[in-house]
């Protein structure tokens, strides 16, 4: 507990920004849809870390004044982001599987039939 309290907010933000940028570069550079999707997941994790860091370091007196929906907004958001990310995984892997069945390989460079 004490250990976490000693870490300043900036460190958390720097880590999450690093993860976010890494994920964004990954999506743009990699060509395998599964890896691209993993990079997007990395970006979502960065978002979660940002939310939690801000929620933990919020100096607001909202919780003391009984305004729980406001005070807990950050933590609440994280739960929803995780749930939505899980739903995205289910749909995304389904789509990738369907493409793989049709073409026997899945690579973003093969996706060139729609163009103009």
């Amino acid at each position: 507990m004490g250990l976490v309290n000693d870490v300043p907010l900036q460190w958390f933000l720097a880590l999450s920004l690093y993860m976010f940028v890494l994920g964004a570069i990954g999506v743009m550079v990699r060509r395998n849809p599964v890896v691209m999707f993993m990079c997007i997941e990395l970006m979502l994790n960065a978002v979660n870390l940002t939310f939690l860091a801000f929620a933990r370091y919020q100096p607001s007196g909202a919780l003391a004044s009984g305004d729980v929906p406001t005070a807990m907004a950050g933590q609440m958001m994280v739960i929803f982001v995780m749930a939505v990310a899980a739903a995205e995984v289910a749909v995304g892997l389904g789509i990738i599987t369907a493409i793989f069945r049709l073409k026997n390989r899945a690579d973003a460079d093969d996706l060139g039939s729609l163009r103009g």
Partner: protein, 507 residues
Amino acid sequence: MNVNALIPTVDWRALAPFTIVVCTGIVALIIEMLRPRRNNNLVVGVSLFGLLVAGWSLFGMLGGPSDESFAGMILNDRFGQILQLVMVGSCAVCFLFSEPYLREKRIPFAEFYPLALWSTAGGMLMVSSKHLLMVFLGLELLSISLYCLAGMSRYESKSEESALKYFLLGSFASAFLLMGIAFIYGETASLHLGRISEVLGAASASPLSTIGAAMVLVGLGFKLALVPFHQWTPDVYQGAPTNVTAFMAAVSKVAALGALVRFLWAIGTLDTVWFPLMWWVAVATMTVGNLAALVQNDVKRTLGYSSIAHAGYLLVGVLAAFSAPGRVSLDATAFYLISYAAMTIGAFAVISLTASGQHEGTRFYDVRGLWKRAPWAAGCLVVFLCSLIGIPITSGFFGKLLIFQAAFDAGLPALAVLLAVNSAISTYYYLGIIQAAFVTEEGAVAPRFGKPSASLNLACAVCLAGVLGAGLFAGPLIRGMGTAEVGPPVGVPVQDPLTIHTKNTSD
């Protein structure tokens, strides 16, 4: 601490339309599982009935005062209700022509109906909330259902390809949206747009809130297909099954526009930052959409680019409302959305006739002689395309006129002129589609068309009634709109960046 005080009272009336649509989706899915494997008529019937009830409950709420419930998570106001009605109506019309199309293409996917219903529910949630958590959830509900729908024609590689592209780029954009929300949360300690607006208004713009707002705009701009986040649109519109394209073009655009208006309202005090940016985005969206549409040879792709251009026109209406709060309202934009939904769905409904057997060609070449095979549908297509161009007595004309006027009244003459010029350019490719449909096939193999079914003709008739009705009754419709209260609470009238620009260069 009294726990009961923390649980908000449930205002079921405010939730009714949304709940009805979601529950109809669940019922439709159960019927789909139980039905004999012959036809989907019962599923379609139940879905249409549910949408009718939802529309009726929305209509009943139209007169009421605007209020917030569920700790500000659900907002009930005129603008949101009108947009929800448009979405419910669009979904119903898409269902009308989907069944013959799915049969013709042999897509054994009755899950289309529940997924489209949930997608609609997501869109409805997006436009009727002032809470960023709800906006995010609505957006994801809309998008994830659409990812499945875009890829529902599993034997066609173009459908799967469009689904994968839409999915990867869509989730990439949502990550930006979420990071933006996180930054805004870090700055304001709240996810409620009203509270965010207060906090941002009290302090000067910080880098955190500015970058956050920009990232949220990237996420919403992607859904709305604003340039430079539009690249997915033509591919997905072309690759997805035509009924899904029609649904996507109408519902997701309306939903994204509603969410964009709510969000811009909240960051109204940062307008010195976002207004010039969005001004240029509107210019680019109109121009790029129209110029790229000129060189296409596929009808669905052309309509995809045209939908980008229309997003630009809509953005002009929104910017006009924000730059002259009090004088210019969002009525013009809401009216344009109604007519846009009717004419776009109508056009795609007619194009869905090119599916015959498992084959479907949507190039200009493939619609030759459509008028012979389906005179009623081809006649309707002419009206829809005339409305998309903006020829008088159609609603598209009045929509463009109103936005043009709003832009002038708001002191954005450059945008108004660009809108008019772009409409003129768009005439070329819309006339190209009409010409293709009315050309008699010469020599070469005649394209095959599906049989125009009664429900498709009905869908065309509904869209026709929408396009002509909204055109003829534009006056009463506009007066009845009453979206004035959505306008920004604060905000300095912003100058047209181009006039500033030209002033600087002349100095």
